[in-house]
């Protein structure tokens, strides 16, 4: 089992209490699997039903595979402009 680093921002960083999470990753894990693991952590109450996840700086679908070396980020509801 490997570990992936998940970047956090804004309200998510405050709720989880840090700028990153280290999440264990089984081979073949998807974005959906990652979110299931994250939902078990304290602070996960902040997450909406379908949080947006970016993999390598692009929005990812729930079925996208994740590798430990990917740049992964949880994207809170954006409010630019």
């Amino acid at each position: 089992m490997s570990t992936v680093t998940v970047q956090l921002f804004a309200s998510y960083a405050e709720s989880f209490g840090g700028a990153t999470l280290k999440i264990p990753l089984d081979p073949g894990s998807t974005v959906r699997d990652l979110l299931s693991s994250i939902r078990m952590l304290p602070g996960a109450y902040v997450l909406p039903d379908s949080p947006r996840v970016a993999v390598n700086r692009r929005f990812a679908s729930p079925d996208q595979l994740i590798d430990a070396l990917d740049e992964v980020a949880l994207i809170p509801p954006v409010a630019g402009g």
Partner: protein, 146 residues
């Protein structure tokens, strides 16, 4: 000429106009977003914008490329500011030039609408009553769930 940037300095919309002005393109459309003094009736004193900068830059560039393709506009510049902003400061500016007004206007509208949907930038509002909230446009209240 297509250019976009996430910046920490002041944005000067007139500089964007000067950057894209040319004698061949008779229509320039400019959109500028500024820091408003209230949100949902609550007085705002200042804002902090933060970003996932690497992705914000790539998404902004992708939006401009899509706008260029969609509207046939080849001259677009866009800047979004992050960091602490005061009331009235320009947070975002988009300028597009075209031979005719419709593509220029459509282009700036498209770019700001897409920025609000998909550029990873977040807004922390500070209020006159001492409170602070992350703005969440997906919530009916307009702020993040506590």
């Amino acid at each position: 000429m297509i250019r976009s940037a996430v910046v920490t300095r002041e944005i000067d919309p007139t500089a964007l106009i000067a950057e894209i002005q040319s004698n061949e393109l008779g229509a320039i459309s400019l959109f500028a977003g500024t820091v408003r003094d209230t949100n949902d009736g609550r007085p705002v004193t200042s804002l902090d914008y933060s970003a996932y900068t690497a992705m914000a830059e790539s998404e902004l560039a992708a939006i401009l490329a899509e706008a260029a393709d969609r509207f046939g506009v080849t001259v677009i510049v866009a800047e979004h500011r992050v960091g602490p902003l005061a009331l009235g400061d320009v947070s975002v500016a988009i300028a597009a030039a075209h031979a005719h007004r419709a593509p220029a206007l459509d282009c700036t509208r498209f770019v700001i609408d897409e920025i609000k949907q998909r550029v990873p930038i977040w807004k922390l509002e500070h209020y006159a009553d001492g409170g602070r909230e992350w703005v969440d446009p997906t919530q009916a209240s307009g702020v993040a769930r506590a």
